[in-house]
Symmetry: C2
Subunit: 161 residues, 2 copies
């Protein structure tokens, strides 16, 4: 860890909406720096939507210069057209993370739930409540994709180094 702490970018992959959350940790507490959603145009070609995501992720990495990028792993039982597209968008997220030069960590949804609530099967509301509490926010951050991305960033922040 750098002397003052770590900037961590968390990503919740998707091709229509990719949630992002940026936190700072000094190894004890976690502080909110930024969060939001990279949105792509639904009528655009799929490759242009990937291009738009790549551009937004590049801007995020340039703006925040994360020491670490944490990306949620996907869980899909079936390989549907939608699942395939989410995986393709996730490939773009991993590529942009690698291009930023920051190490990349990947966490399963169960690891994120466990890290935030102590229960690997916790519901979405429980995770979002912990995001709110750990970051000292008056309300859980919205939209859900951004809250999920912050949960991934906090999971990375809480990992023992």
């Amino acid at each position: 860890m750098p002397e003052q702490g770590y900037i961590i970018l968390g990503l919740d992959p998707g091709f229509g909406r990719m949630g992002f959350g940026v936190v700072f940790t000094d190894g004890k507490s976690v502080e909110l720096l930024d969060y939001g959603v990279a949105v792509t145009v639904s009528g655009d070609t799929f490759e242009n939507r990937l291009l738009s995501l790549a551009s937004d992720l590049h801007d995020l990495c340039t703006r925040h210069r994360p020491h670490l990028v944490a990306v949620e792993k996907l869980y899909f039982g079936k390989m549907t057209t939608n699942a395939m597209k989410v995986a393709e968008a996730r490939g773009v997220a991993l590529l942009m993370a690698a291009q930023s030069g920051a190490p990349v960590l990947e966490f399963t949804p169960a690891q994120v739930k466990l890290a935030l609530t102590g229960d690997g099967k916790a519901g979405k509301a429980g995770v979002q409540r912990m995001v709110k509490e750990l970051l000292g926010l008056p309300q859980p951050p919205k939209p859900d994709d951004a809250a999920d991305a912050l949960a991934v960033a906090i999971t990375a922040a809480n990992k023992k180094w």
Copy 2:
């Protein structure tokens, strides 16, 4: 179509090996320009393998300046870890194609088989024989990933515009 014809880059997505094939068509015949495989290091982190693929694809697009990029669609019944990684690598291929500025076409394996042999259920050997004949080669190109990528490029070349 530009006056003299089209340069088409065909891609057969994979994360360990990504086949590529470059052809030129004047709208009647198809001519081989280049083919091969972008190989990544199996012991490397997955994000670095994506970075390596992106770099190779960028070089290919810079070298050949394709008017069109044709990418094979994936078919997987189950979402296995391997299928997920192939889809992630395919996302990187689509992104690099989009970054080159060339339009992107996608073809299913059945469309490629049908275009080359007239039979959407043709076997691999039958497709490779047609790649050899259509490009006037003494032998089917090797390795298979490169031959598959050439088949995708030829499919795009034979499409009626």
